[in-house]
Symmetry: C2
Subunit: 345 residues, 2 copies
Amino acid sequence: MDMRDIAKMAGVSSATVSRVINGSCAVRPETAERVQRVIDEFKFIPNGSATTLKYGRSGTYGLIIPDITNPFFPEFIQSFEGILADANRNMLMATTASHAPSMQRTIYRMLVSQVEGIVLLASEIETEPIEAMMNNRVPLVTMDRRLVGKGLSDVSVDSNSGMRQAVEHLQGLKHRRIGYIGGSVGPTISDHRRNSFVRAMQGYGLAVVEELMRAGNYRISGGEAAMAQLLDLRDRPTAIIAANDLTAIGALRVIHRQGLSVPGDISIVGFDDIELSDIVFPPLTTLHLAQHELAKKFVGALEAFAPDPHGMGKQYKVETTLLVRSSTGPARRRERATKPLRAVS
Amino acid sequence: MDMRDIAKMAGVSSATVSRVINGSCAVRPETAERVQRVIDEFKFIPNGSATTLKYGRSGTYGLIIPDITNPFFPEFIQSFEGILADANRNMLMATTASHAPSMQRTIYRMLVSQVEGIVLLASEIETEPIEAMMNNRVPLVTMDRRLVGKGLSDVSVDSNSGMRQAVEHLQGLKHRRIGYIGGSVGPTISDHRRNSFVRAMQGYGLAVVEELMRAGNYRISGGEAAMAQLLDLRDRPTAIIAANDLTAIGALRVIHRQGLSVPGDISIVGFDDIELSDIVFPPLTTLHLAQHELAKKFVGALEAFAPDPHGMGKQYKVETTLLVRSSTGPARRRERATKPLRAVS
DNA sequence: ACAGATAGCGTTAGCGCTAACGTGAACCGA
DNA sequence: TCGGTTCACGTTAGCGCTAACGCTATCTGT
């Protein structure tokens, strides 16, 4: 069943069928209606690969996610795919281990599928092998790499504003020893969130203590490990800002396990505002990142390349704002090793 | 840059280039190597839409998810996509609101894209409009609908075995009043999990009390609402089995908010074993569902249709097993309205 | 009344790939 | 030596679609 079959039954040529399907105005309404009736009757669906081959556009974008298990990503995907669907576009999705070979095969498959652009949400992994693979064939939009070029755009999360609000909030609650638990160490592309934290602290005249800054892994386990170390310190921090909510939740768990309370003994600020952050106890004060805005920027960045896939990319940005819930409160008076008020298993 | 260009540079015909790329053995090794060198040099990537058009197969499957925000689905997607990627296949994913028009547009886009099959993970929504849309064009594999037909397979979660283990476990802990919080009511395809629960209770000679069985919505909010009602009862249940982990977590939250303890006052059993179930406090006793096995069954079901897309489908099944963590414990002696031991905000 | 514009539709070529077939050369056994 | 195989490749014909162009009938202005 192809357009010629439909054409024959409607008594027109296949070109006219094509015109009707694509809404060309160069068809008389009555002819269009006649053709449409045949299309409906036989539930005809055109063959997209033929269109892609002929027209050179697939209407499909690729999305590469490092770890879909991190709740941040599903929330993003939801918005991203929704926006694409509204524009009648498809999403080819792949989660990929962070090692290069599987990554390259993923990109290869996407390029074979004639994607018109790829979004790479992989701040944790090296991207050189990927760019080599892509070879400037289709536009690439990355997250938080702050690197643009031909056919290369970036959407970054501006943590400065949010981080300032967080530090101001904590300072207002009389916190002075504020710790930080960051993301992964290693081949990561310089930790912007960490820098924002440092700048915000300095901006408010607070001491930036190396001892109070630890690396995590953007997951609960990393938050737990880092927080355990911080609690072992003679002079503990009274507040913690974490690089993302999962890290904050990990910290929360360790604090509870040691019989301390949040925010009674230690205040915690997360980052991202994933749904989970409102579900844990206590609900996290966090830096809200508007997922839908973020997704819109990515789609916008992709579509900006439509006229010229090899044109110069742009740097996009989304803001973060502090969302105060219940995991932050006044600093304890004596900033010494804290004793639990009551034991909780 | 197409195969003819490569062919010219390698001094062969385009057919030979095709043969080399597809690993045909009808090419002399030295010729193949020469061609491969040119391919590598120019980083040639074949045009998949041409192959799809010619060959009639796209190597792409569609996956439709109702609510990717439910952690069950990301974990599934991870496995599903991984298995497809290993088989060098693509995944076209869409999350879709449960109303028919957006659903139909999603399916339409997938059919245009020449997917070779669609997995529909939408136990909550009506599927008649979808099947009408699909019109038996490509195989459909559903989850937990227990309906098979031409080009239609189903993968169901066998909750019987797990439910029996759960009830036995609770009975062993001296629980007699066991409640159940189910999934959504309405157009859902008969609640197999609920039936399994009822059968298991009867099998162990326990009373099935209608009053103790409530509907939820597969999310935290539903678990909360249902549990709140159950706690209002004069004669509360001493244990709850939930239709999924999110529901169980919702129940957990309400119990904690009312100053009761788990499992001290009430035991809770979840279903699915999502990662979160090991992270909440206390870690959930739950019916473990092997996500990777589940994903494998779906891929297997799809590929079983490869020889004949219109052939008869099959019913697949995955087992569940009880995983005991910390949310279940001995029943309280007096099965009367319980008083909180201590107040917690 | 007539050249030119326009609307509405048909014809055609070709997007890049590969199955099927065709061909020439090397090889084989009798 | 020679008909038949086999191997290793080239040639060709589309897969279904649509942009570009071509054609005809009607309409417009003078």
